[in-house]
Symmetry: D2
């Protein structure tokens, strides 16, 4: 039986308790490209006045999405782990909107996979956050 | 009545639902230096096999701790927000151990506060993760 | 007389001794988007065996190109400065090839401009390095 | 004949044309800890008005110093390469002052070495820049 990397990525992420806890779910998965969504939840609120969700929830979504992008890459064998991740916060996410993350594994060396991602709410033109990271490559 | 920045930082963080959700609590707070703890919780598990917690939970702790370090800095007026944060993951946190974060706001310009932090489990000599970030300064 | 931001960006960069020293020159400049080139020079060699240029030369090119992208952005008033810059090195640049940098200022808040950039040699499909940075916004 | 990693690091760096070009020289080298200096030079000027040196020159110094710290680490076998490096610029370096960089390789996994560094001018208490990076480990 062949399990494609896509199926692998999907299985893997769906088994992560913390992703479940955050309500993260797959939208699409391609070859090194993944889109995931996370519904707004009052448990994620980082600022009680504005109801804006905490950066940590956005980060968890971006990190999970980047990891899935690596695993779904055709050259990747097996799972991965984050080496480092940088997140730039460009504006507060609008409360009560679903956050969508889109990640691309744009380069893979022998030992390191490079990924970048965006987090968006309903406004496609003004990202909420951008991520750049290095992940463990297995090939 | 004078509310010191320390009290301010403590109040602020304790009011964050996401920090409560993650079980983050203050250990010590100084002038630009903060230590926070987060108990192990199965809800944070990122890898079901190893029971290691998700990087996003460690990130949320580091981000919260860095933000508190900025707010507790003597030159800071008011709250802050993350501009960007980079996290380097050095090893998996040992399951069932409390994660401690120690953050220092080591430089403050007119518009940007620079912070670095470490996340530790019971092994003081081998950090779990390190963070470097830029935050909004208000002075 | 109106001096456009584009002219401003061009003037500014051409007056930088270190950019001259490195042989950096403009290729194109748009509204928040800049392309710059740097010819191969033996003075930049970082590894004497392979003749590959030093990451610091690539960084200087990326940093300069990102700064020019900020200055050329329609919302930017005046000059800028780097707050922080992260560079991911994906592979060694091929010796004796010109390095091209393409930078985009993709988001501008009241105090911070966010920029990303790629460095390429003759192979368009496999970038040499990628940069993500935060710069001082003036608007 | 045994060539220690220290000697290795020193030899290696001294053979780098770009480091020579920048006038970078070793001050001290320990086990995973290196200090390097770079004298002020008008060729590095990034801002003709203020005579402040270009961030790229500071970056090259920090990158070289971080690489040497990895090579000098007792667990490292052979040379290294930068995976990614983030530099935070905290203030302009004072013109005509020597820039000192101090780097520590504070963690080494099977495939990645983590390093951090500071760049200082004559004022020890207010760093000019801070760097955080991941390098290729060989052990």
């Amino acid at each position: 039986m062949v399990i494609s990397n896509e199926a692998h990525a999907r299985q893997f992420i769906e088994a992560i308790p913390h992703a479940k806890e955050l309500g993260i779910w797959f939208e699409t998965i391609g070859e090194g490209t993944v889109e995931m969504h996370m519904d707004y939840d009052e448990r994620f609120i980082g600022d009680p006045k504005t109801k804006v969700i905490h950066g940590g929830a956005v980060f968890a979504l971006l990190d999970t999405c980047c990891g899935a992008a690596v695993i779904s890459h055709p050259e990747q064998r097996g799972l991965t782990a984050t080496i480092d991740l940088r997140v730039d916060y460009m504006r507060p996410a609008t409360p009560w909107q679903t956050i969508r993350a889109k990640a691309t594994c744009y380069n893979m060396t022998r030992s390191v996979a490079f990924v970048r991602a965006l987090a968006l709410d309903n406004d496609d033109d003004r990202p909420v956050a951008a991520a750049t990271g290095a992940f463990v490559a297995g090939n």
